[in-house]
């Protein structure tokens, strides 16, 4: 499948500027993507310090080399069910507006290069309960990668301004 896509990409490939790179990962049964430029690092699960009186999808904070960053449970954010901790679970540390935070996911897949032509903006009648957090959809061979809008997911970035 990968080879397939690579071929397709090469066809559509005009110049490097038209390629967007995403880090793909799995939450539940869905595959999601995040623009690679926003990804800072990937950690194995570590113990999380709970924060009292925060949203239910914020698991807490961790100490990342002296910096305190929040970790949010993506599955909880989408489907209101707690994530299972498995040996392939990972925490993806992302950076947005000079703020770092971590996202807990079930499995990290791979980095994919997708030609912009194959990325389409989300159609409104995409009746997913997290549709507003998906900013675009990419065709990846037979798969659909739902590219997440980091700003929408990490709401506390904007909520922080109100607070």
């Amino acid at each position: 499948m990968l080879a397939n896509l690579q071929e397709k990409n090469q066809e559509a490939e005009a110049n490097l500027e038209d390629i967007e790179q995403f880090l793909t990962f799995r939450v539940g049964e869905e595959i999601f993507g995040i623009r690679l430029l926003l990804v800072h690092e990937i950690l194995k699960p570590v113990f999380i310090t709970r924060l009292p009186n925060v949203e239910d999808y914020t698991l807490g904070v961790i100490n990342l080399r002296g910096e305190i960053i929040p970790i949010l449970d993506l599955k909880k954010r989408f489907s209101k069910t707690d994530s299972e901790v498995l040996h392939q679970s990972r925490i993806i540390v992302v950076m947005l507006n000079e703020k770092r935070s971590g996202i807990f996911v079930d499995e990290v897949k791979q980095v994919v290069k997708v030609h912009k032509k194959l990325i389409s903006e989300t159609i409104d009648d995409l009746s997913l309960n997290y549709s507003k957090m998906v900013e675009s959809v990419s065709r990846y061979g037979d798969h659909l990668i739902l590219n997440l809008s980091l700003e929408q997911i990490i709401e506390f970035v904007s909520a922080g301004k109100q607070a």
Partner: protein, 1063 residues
């Protein structure tokens, strides 16, 4: 990042903000003191600066306005325009406009509108006043040119005729002032004179050209020139290097005549005026250059630093402090593991040194952020002026302590609240002049601002001598608003009553004015206080006045705190808020009107359950709970916590940096070992608590979960599980812990599997380890293959080990064994002396050991043990308990001050009867102390003392006389009992510690129990539940045969097997 005006935006903003403040302050001063030329100069200079800097960044409209202002100011300087309220107001208007532009720029908006209206106003005013030539001209001529202009009549006539003949020309009076330290004054003035001459006709010159030519030195030059050049052109001509002042003004004959008249005839006010002015002027010239020099000196001592840079620096120093505490912890661990050492002492010394230095560094950097409060105070002069005009009250503002320094953040935030307080003072506090007169006060009211240091706090005080606060009114309003009740009010102190004015919307004003009265101002003050953890103290006397004192703690970054644990989460209470920590019995908590309270030494305090505020489950009831008592505003509160850990210096990191502010927390901090501590915000907690009372939040359940943290409180019991709330994070952590431990065991299994492959196991019959002396023993061992080897350690102590293995055919592994046991013996004894002791001990009892071997060998149960535990595990176990017993022996010998020898134990899997057989002392009388093991391994440790020796031992411990038997001579006295229990405890702990360390588990002693009787009876009581059990025992002997006691290790077999396998 360039600002909207380009790269100089920031610089411009800073400077211009300063200028505007100065302008405002100075204008107010000028209003009061019209004659002070210095102030005018300052204002002029500031306006001039503003003009050029705004032009520089492209704000041309601003520049134009400033230019117009400058003109007006110039006229003031010369005295052609007098100072009155209208003018001052006009100027203030200008300042405000300018300020608006600056503020817009600060917010990123470039204001382009030309100030045509304002400029017109200025022009109009100028025209309206410039025509007038007042009789009493306030001559603000700042230079010694107040010496009057003697223009001869002849010259005058010439001038007027010239002017008539050349209508396009104008006459100007040029006054030039050189700087005091100018070189070659005469020459310079000559140059000027000549260049002016080139532009027009000079009709008067003082000093004259001739004089200048002669070298007559003068600081100043006065010219009357007729020219068709503009005044600015003339001005430019004269404005050469080293010019202090150049003024070019249109020369008016009439003025001049009047001036000269004035100068010739001593009319009352004016000559005095001009004389005194000249004196002033003279002084001024001296002062002016000095002042300029002084300014430049001041400027060079300061550097403007962006506060971002400072923040970063502060952050780094904070990290330094945290890392230092990490060092400290490592040091503690090292000492715990390896004992005291001179090298460690050195390390400690260096650690302490670094600690000191980094603390100093931190204080130093924090001081950099300290800014004198004077900058804030100066703003208020303008405010007071405006206020007094509005309220028609006479107000005098006194400022003191302008040099007191506060952290920049506080300085930035304190402005607004102070404004509110001042407004209140003027509007509500001070009486009108008539009222004041009527009650005998001076017509002018005084508002005093004072800043000073008090202890570790900085205090800012606003005091007025007005009518004071009306306690009754406040109380009435408070009761009205439901903030207190009639009954409670009688208990309130004055300060507490006054504190009500901080309630939102609280106002006792009968009328709401534009200035105040809405009840909003005090709330703003309150917010400031809370944000910076400050306090406000109100004092007031009706009729005399009131004072509001804001106090702020000085150091804002390192906060010593009290750490508490809630389940496994660590929270910190800032020490400055904590009053005390106490233990409270559950029964002492009562409920009053739905709130829980306790009685603390007669004081009734509300008490909150921190676990509920944090969203945790309620614990199963305990008898006593620890409570942290804090100060909140003027009251005390208590928080029930799970456990207290101790004091800790925390460097707070904001949560908002990467996340957002969480209610109830001020921030987080990191401990030396990386654990995150959340720092509590007391007002936030109180708010949350009241919210939670109102909403019926879902009850959180709790259950036992495995421990994930290594934090231990002062008295926490160490169990493997702890009661935790069922919350997502806790479940996550638990699951993670499971996965991690599974991985660990998996790794270990793989490792051991690997190791086992390497070893060759030949037979499955059990082996017994024996330690015997020298060669001869080999024969007495009835078991199959035996071998003896000797190990001669290099230090000369003959530590002879000989290990007999039943089915070992490889010498190598035996060597290993020897090495291993030797290692173990050495580890547990750190110096040669003790090693020698160990050697003796081993020697001492080995003989006895052999005898018993015979018995043991015949036991059939050995086979069973072999089945249940692999050879390897048995070895492991023996090794471990070995060292444990040796430890115990060492400890015992120290306790009883006798040489103690012990058997190295061997493992017995047996049943009750078998156990009895093993001990040759089965029927003698013993005093036994049974200590139960808890934690990761259960079972019993039994320490038995022979009757004969029990008293001996006790005597040694207690110090002779007390160790007596009871009257019957047989039963032990209480003292003896405790002595023996103590010894047993210590000895058994030694064993358990050793076990714990080697198995990397937690094995802890429980309460000791004394048993008395024959050996068998004792064993009977101890008997484990299972019929088969594993025992290891050793005997402690003194001088070979004098039996001191027996230590029996009776663990739970299954658990032990499991532990050994994992170890």
């Amino acid at each position: 990042m360039a600002g909207i005006l380009g790269e100089y935006t920031e610089v411009f903003l800073e400077e211009s903000e300063d200028q505007i403040q100065e302008l405002n302050a100075n204008l107010v001063k000028l209003e009061k003191d019209h004659t002070n030329p210095e102030i005018i100069n300052d204002i002029f200079r500031a306006a001039h600066s503003l003009k050029s800097s705004s032009a520089f960044v492209g704000l041309y409209n601003l520049s134009d306005l400033a230019h117009k202002m400058e003109n007006l100011l110039q006229k003031i300087r010369e005295g052609t325009v007098e100072i009155n309220t209208i003018l001052v107001n006009l100027l203030f208007e200008c300042f405000d406009l300018i300020k608006n532009v600056i503020e817009s720029v600060a917010q990123g908006i470039k204001v382009e509108t030309p100030f045509t209206e304002m400029i017109k106003k200025l022009d109009d005013y100028e025209k309206s006043v410039s025509g007038k030539s007042s009789e009493v001209t306030k001559a603000f001529v700042p230079d010694s040119n107040s010496k009057t202009i003697h223009i001869s009549d002849g010259n005058k006539e010439e001038l007027s005729s010239f002017l008539m003949n050349n209508p396009e020309t104008k006459a100007y009076l040029v006054q030039i002032q050189l700087k005091a330290d100018t070189q070659m004054k005469g020459l310079r003035l000559l140059l000027v004179l000549q260049s002016v001459k080139a532009q027009g006709e000079v009709f008067h010159s003082d000093p004259s050209e001739a004089d200048l030519d002669d070298g007559k030195a003068s600081n100043s030059l006065t010219l009357v020139v007729a020219t068709n050049s503009s005044d600015s052109e003339i001005h430019a001509l004269c404005n050469i290097d080293m010019m202090e002042n150049v003024t070019v003004t249109p020369f008016e004959f009439e003025n001049q005549t009047s001036k000269s008249e004035i100068s010739n005839s001593p009319v009352e006010q004016v000559p005095n005026f001009s004389e005194s002015n000249s004196k002033l002027g003279n002084q001024k010239t001296e002062q002016a250059p000095e002042k300029a020099a002084g300014d430049s000196k001041v400027v060079m001592k300061t550097i403007k630093v962006s506060s971002d840079k400072l923040d970063e620096l502060m952050n780094n120093v904070g990290e330094l402090v945290i890392t230092n505490s990490g060092f400290q912890k490592i040091y503690d661990d090292l000492v715990a593991q390896f004992g005291e050492d001179s090298l460690f002492n050195e390390l400690k010394g260096k650690i302490d040194q670094i600690n000191r230095i980094s603390k100093d560094l931190q204080t130093g950097i924090m001081n950099i952020r300290m800014v004198p409060i004077g900058s804030v105070f100066n703003r208020f002069t303008r405010l007071i002026r405006d206020l007094s005009l509005e309220t028609k009250k006479k107000v005098n503002l006194e400022l003191r302590g302008e040099n007191t320094e506060l952290d920049k953040k506080v300085i930035d935030a304190i402005g607004e609240p102070l404004i509110h307080l001042i407004r209140n003072s003027v509007d509500h506090g001070l009486e009108t002049p008539e009222e004041r007169k009527a009650i005998g006060k001076s017509e002018e009211g005084t508002v005093e601002l004072n800043a000073y240091q008090g202890g570790s706090n900085i205090l800012v005080e606003i005091r007025d001598d007005g009518r004071g606060l009306n306690k009754q009114k406040i109380l009435k309003k408070a009761i009205e608003k439901g903030l207190t009740t009639e009954s409670e009010s009688s208990n309130l102190s004055d300060n507490e009553i006054f504190q009500f004015i901080f309630a939102p919307g609280f106002s006792t004003a009968d009328k709401i004015s534009d200035i105040s009265g809405r009840g909003v101002g005090m709330n703003v003050v309150n917010k400031l206080i809370e944000e910076f953890k400050g306090k406000i103290i109100i004092q007031s006397e009706e009729g005399s006045g009131s004072s509001f004192t804001l106090s702020f703690p000085q150091a804002l970054a390192i906060i010593p705190s009290i750490l508490v644990t809630m389940e496994e989460e660590v929270y910190a209470f800032p020490l400055s808020e904590v009053s005390e920590t106490i233990k409270v019995g559950i029964d002492q908590i009562t409920t009053l009107e739905g709130h829980e309270i306790i009685n603390l030494r007669g004081e009734v305090l509300p008490i909150y359950r921190l676990n509920r505020i944090l969203g945790q489950a309620d614990k199963p009831e305990t008898v006593e709970v620890p409570v942290v008592i804090v100060n909140f505003k003027t009251r005390k509160l208590g928080f029930i916590v799970d456990d207290l850990i101790g004091k800790h210096e925390t460097v707070i990191k904001s949560l908002g940096k990467n996340y957002k502010d969480v209610p109830g927390l001020t921030g987080a901090t990191i401990m030396g070992d990386g654990t995150i501590i959340l720092v509590l915000d007391i007002p936030g907690l109180v708010e949350l608590a009241s919210e939670k009372l109102q909403i019926d939040s879902n009850v959180v359940e709790g259950k036992l979960m495995k421990r994930t943290s290594t934090i231990r409180s002062l008295e926490m019991t160490d169990s493997q599980e702890i009661f935790k709330s069922v919350l997502s994070t806790n479940l996550y952590n638990e699951k993670l812990q499971e996965i991690k431990s599974k991985e660990k065991t998996k790794i270990k299994k793989d490792r051991s599997r690997y190791e086992r492959k390497v070893q060759i196991v030949e037979e499955r019959t059990p082996e017994i380890k024996i330690i015997s002396i020298k060669e001869s023993e080999a024969d007495t061992i009835p078991l199959s293959n035996t071998k003896s080897t000797f190990v001669e350690p290099s230090n000369g102590v003959s530590l002879s080990y000989s290990i007999v293995e039943s089915n070992e055919s490889k010498t190598d592994s035996k060597e290993e064994e020897i090495q291993r046991l030797a290692e173990r013996a050495r580890i547990d004894s750190s110096d040669a002396e003790e090693r020698a002791k160990a050697a003796d001990i081993i020697k001492g009892f080995v003989e006895q050991k052999e005898e018993r071997l015979k018995q043991i060998n015949n036991s059939s149960s050995d086979n069973q043990m072999g089945e249940m535990m692999s050879k390897e595990n048995i070895k492991k176990l023996e090794g471990i308990v070995n060292s444990g017993m040796m430890n115990a022996g060492m400890v015992l010998s120290q306790l009883v001050s006798k040489d103690v020898e012990l058997f190295i134990p061997e493992i017995k899997l047996t049943d009750r009867e078998g156990l009895g057989k093993d001990f040759r002392y089965s029927h003698e009388g013993f005093f036994g102390v049974k200590i139960r093991m808890t934690g990761d391994l259960h079972g019993n440790l039994l320490m038995m003392f022979s009757e004969e020796n029990a008293s001996e031992i006790a005597k040694t411990l207690l110090g002779s006389e007390e160790a007596k038997f009871e009257k019957d001579g047989k039963t032990l006295s209480e003292d003896m009992v405790s002595a023996l229990s103590e010894i047993s405890n210590i000895v058994c702990s030694g064993v358990m510690n050793s076990l714990s360390n080697k198995l990397k588990k937690q094995i802890l002693p429980d309460v000791p129990e004394l048993i008395n009787g024959s050996f068998m009876e004792v064993i009977e009581i101890v008997k484990p539940e299972r019929t088969k059990f594993l025992s290891m025992h050793t005997e402690f002997n003194h001088e070979g045969s004098n039996l001191l006691g027996v230590l029996v290790f009776l663990p739970d077999f299954d658990e032990l097997v499991e532990l050994i396998q994992k170890a």
